[in-house]
C-alpha cells in the first residue's frame, strides 16, 4: 500500500536530481514527501514537524540553491539531520559506579525486557569480562521469574534465587545485597512490563529506582512502536528517569521511526538494538547505519554481515572464479536460489542493497516470491548431473521428463533454461562491471516467472 521511506525519498530526490537549481518551492515539495514518508515510518507527528523545520532551514538558502548538485545536497542534509537527531555517535553502557553496578530494565508489556536482560548480561560477561548477576523483579506475569532463570542457565549467567511471595523492592534489595557479598560487578534488574499511564506501577518502578540508584535505567522498546512512542518515552523518562533506550526487533521490517521519536523527545541515546530472539542477537546502535538505511542508501555493513552468516564462503569464492571463467552452470544457479531463500527471501537481502528500491518494485511487479524460487529449484533438482553441467543437452524429450519429475510444465522448464542463459550472460557482465552493472540491467529479469 504505502511506499517505504527509501522509495519515497528516492522518488523525490530523483526529481530533484533532474534540475539544476532548487527553488524554495522545490524544497517545500520535497519536504512534503519527506513528511509523509516519515509519518508512514511511524515517526511521531510532533517530531516530524520539528525535523522538517530543521531540514527546511538548512535546505533553503545558499547551501542548496547555490550548490552544483542540489539533489545530492538535499539527500545529504536530510541524512545529516537524521543522524544528528538520532545522536551522532554510538554510546556505550555506563558502568562507572561502585560495584555492584545496578542496571534497571523498564518498559511496556512484551517489549523484550527479559530477553534483553539476558542478552546484555551475556555481552557484559563475554565482552567486558564482568561478573554479572540477573534478578527478575517481575512478580506479576506468570512464570516471568522462571523465564529469567532459564535464560540464566542458557547464558551461564548467575540469577538470583526465586523467593515466592517477595515484592519487587525487596527482591531488588536482596539482589544488591548478594551482589555486594559475592563480589558481582553488575546487577541487572529485570522488571514487569507496565503501561506508562499506570500510576501505581510507575510508582513501583520509581521505588525500585530509589532503592537501588541504578547507573543505567534502560527503556526497552519495540521497533514496531507507533505514535505512542512519544507518550511512552516521555512518561518513563519523567516518572522513572531513563538514561538510555534499547530498541528490540530491529530484525523485523518495521521502519523504526520510533527510534527518532524517542530520541527526540527524551534526548536519551539509543544504546543497543535487539536483532533476534537468541541471546547473542544484541548490537550497539549505529545512528549513521540506521539513518543510511532509512534513506535507502543501504546498510552495507549489515548486508555484509548477514551475507557472511549464510553464504558459505567457499561456495562464494568458487562461484566468483567460475563466473570469471564463464563456467556458471545450473548447479550454481540452484545454489544461488538456495542462498536467496536462506537470506529470508528476496526482501531481506535486497532491501539492504543500495539503490535497490527501484529494483525491488520491479521484482514485486514481476511477482517473484519464494514459491517461484522453490519451483525453480525443483526443476533443477529433476535434471541429471550431466544436464546441469551442460544445458545444451536439454532436448524436448528431456525437458518433458524434467517437467514431469518436478511437477511443473514444459513451459516452466523452458522459462528456467532461458533465465539461466540470461543469468549466465549477465553474470559475465557483472564480473566486468561489478555490482553496479547488475543493478542497471535489472535483477528482476533474472527471476521473472
Amino acid at each position: 500500500m504505502f511506499e517505504n521511506l527509501s522509495q519515497r525519498l528516492g522518488k523525490v530526490f530523483d526529481r530533484l536530481r533532474g534540475r539544476g537549481a532548487l527553488s524554495e518551492g522545490d524544497v517545500d515539495e520535497a519536504l512534503r514527501e519527506v513528511r509523509l514518508a516519515l509519518l508512514e515510518a511511524d515517526v511521531a507527528l510532533s517530531v516530524v514537524k520539528t525535523f522538517i523545520a530543521g531540514v527546511r532551514l538548512r535546505a533553503i538558502g545558499q547551501e542548496v540553491i547555490k550548490s552544483v548538485t542540489p539533489g545530492q545536497m538535499v539527500v545529504k542534509i536530510v541524512h545529516d539531520h537524521l543522524v544528528e537527531t538520532l545522536g551522532s555517535t554510538a554510546s556505550e553502557i555506563n558502568l562507572r559506579a561502585v560495584p555492584p553496578v545496578p542496571i534497571l530494565m523498564v518498559g511496556l508489556q512484551g517489549s523484550g525486557k527479559t530477553t534483553t536482560t539476558a542478552k546484555l548480561a551475556l555481552r557484559l560477561t563475554q565482552k567486558d569480562r564482568k561478573k554479572v548477576l540477573m534478578a527478575s523483579l517481575d512478580t506479576r506475569r506468570p512464570a516471568a521469574q522462571e523465564q529469567l532463570r532459564v535464560l540464566g542457565e542458557q547464558t551461564g549467567v548467575a540469577t538470583l534465587e526465586i523467593v515466592a511471595g517477595q515484592g519487587p523492592v525487596d527482591i531488588a534489595h536482596r539482589a544488591m545485597e548478594r551482589g555486594r557479598v559475592e563480589g558481582f560487578d553488575v546487577v541487572l534488574l529485570d522488571t514487569a512490563g507496565r503501561l506508562s499511564i499506570d500510576d501505581e506501577l510507575m510508582g513501583e518502578a520509581a521505588a525500585i529506582r530509589d532503592a537501588t540508584r541504578p547507573a543505567e535505567t534502560l527503556l526497552v522498546v519495540d521497533a514496531m512502536t507507533g505514535q505512542d512512542a512519544v507518550t511512552v518515552a516521555t512518561n518513563f523518562n519523567e516518572k522513572i528517569g531513563v538514561t538510555g533506550i534499547v530498541m528490540t526487533r530491529v530484525d523485523g521490517d518495521a521502519r523504526g521511526g520510533a527510534a527518532l521519536s524517542m530520541r527526540a523527545v527524551t534526548g536519551r541515546p539509543i544504546k543497543l538494538i535487539g536483532l533476534g530472539e537468541k541471546v547473542d542477537a544484541l548490537d550497539v546502535f549505529h545512528p549513521d547505519r540506521i539513518a543510511g538505511r532509512i534513506l535507502g542508501m543501504g546498510d552495507i555493513v549489515g548486508l555484509v554481515e548477514k551475507a557472511a552468516e549464510t553464504v558459505e564462503k567457499e561456495e562464494a569464492e568458487k562461484l566468483a572464479r567460475k563466473v570469471q571463467k564463464g563456467e556458471f552452470d545450473l548447479d550454481d544457479m540452484a545454489s544461488q536460489l538456495r542462498q536467496l531463500r536462506k537470506m529470508g527471501g528476496l526482501g531481506g537481502v535486497m532491501g539492504m542493497l543500495p539503490g535497490i528500491q527501484k529494483v525491488k518494485a520491479q521484482l514485486d511487479s514481476a511477482r517473484v516470491d519464494d514459491r517461484v524460487i522453490k519451483r525453480q529449484e525443483a526443476i533443477i533438482g529433476s535434471m541429471t548431473k550431466a544436464e546441469r553441467r551442460d544445458v545444451k543437452l536439454l532436448n524436448a524429450n528431456r525437458r518433458r521428463r524434467i517437467a514431469a519429475g518436478s511437477g511443473t510444465s514444459v513451459e516452466d522448464v523452458n522459462r528456467l533454461v532461458k533465465q539461466y542463459m540470461e543469468m549466465a550472460r549477465m553474470m559475465k557482465q557483472v564480473s566486468k562491471l561489478g555490482q553496479k552493472g547488475l543493478m542497471r540491467t535489472g535483477i528482476a529479469n533474472l527471476f521473472r516467472r
Binding site: 508489556q109 523465564q147 542458557q154 507507533g226 505512542d228 523485523g252 518495521a254 521502519r255
Partner: protein
Amino acid sequence: MASWFQRLKTGLARTTTRLVDSIGAALGRKRVDAATLDELEEALIAADLGPSVAAKLVAKLRQRKWDGEVEVDTVKRALADDIAAILAPVAVPFAIDPTRRPHVTLVVGVNGSGKTTTIGKFAERLGREGRKVVIAAGDTFRAAAVAQLEIWASRAGAECIRGADGSDPAALAYQALERAQTIGADALLIDTAGRLHNKADLMAELQKLIRVLRKRDASAPHRILLVLDATTGQNAIQQVEIFKQLVEIDGLILTKLDGSARGGVLVAIAERFALPVVAVGVGESADDLAAFDPKQFADALLGVGT
C-alpha cells in the same frame, strides 16, 4: 459480561485522553474551517490511523461543506460515525462452532503481542461457559513459555499438552489434537512461538504445523487468529498482509488497548483486509478480554458520546 464492558470503557477512556485533549484543543473554536480540519487530521495521525487514511477521512468531512455555524461536536460525531462504519463489518465476536469437536483455534503473531495471555483469557471464558478445553503449548522455543501457559491453563481448569523444550511444535499440535479428540474436548487452543512475519523459516514452520494438524483432522484448524499489539504503528499492516498471505488468517485480536496507544491502525487494516476483529485485550487479567465494539472504539478514539 458487564465487567468486560466496564473494563473496555475505562481502558478506552484512558486510551483516549490525549487524543481528546488534542482534538479538544483543535476544535475548541466552535467554527469549522480548513485549519480545524487540518488539526483534526493530525489528531488522527497521532492515533496511528496513518497519514493516508487520516487524509481520506478528513477529505470526506471536508466535502460535506460545513457552514461556519456548525458545532464542533457535530463534526466529531460525523467523523466517529464514519470510522465506526468502516469498522462495523469486521466486528464479529469469537465463537466456537459446536459441530466441530474439538473446535481447533490456532493463535499466531509476532513476538510479545499477547498470544499466550489471550489464550489464557479464552480458556478461562470457555471454561466458564462450561466447555472442556485443551491447550497446546506450541511455543517450544522461548524460555519458560510452557510454564507461563501452564499457569494460565490451571487457572482456567484446562488441560495443557506440552512437549520437551525445542521439540517440534507441529508434532506437539498433532498430539494435542489427538488428546482433545480422545477426551471429547469442545475446544483446542494452540499457542505458538512469536515470529516476525519477515522470517521465512519461522513462517514455514507455521505452515508445516497446519499441514500436520490436517493429517489428523482435515478441517482443522477451524480458526487461525492473528494477535496484534495496539502499540504497533503502521507495521501492523505488514504483519496482517504477510501472515494472511502465508497462513489463512480468519480473525484478529487487538491487545493492550488499556494502554495509551489507540490502535488506530486497525481502521486501515479493516479497510484493506476486511478481517473480523474477534476480541480486544484490555488488561493482563483473565477477564480483560472484550468483544470488539466499533462504535465504542470509534467514539472513544474521538472522545464523543461517552
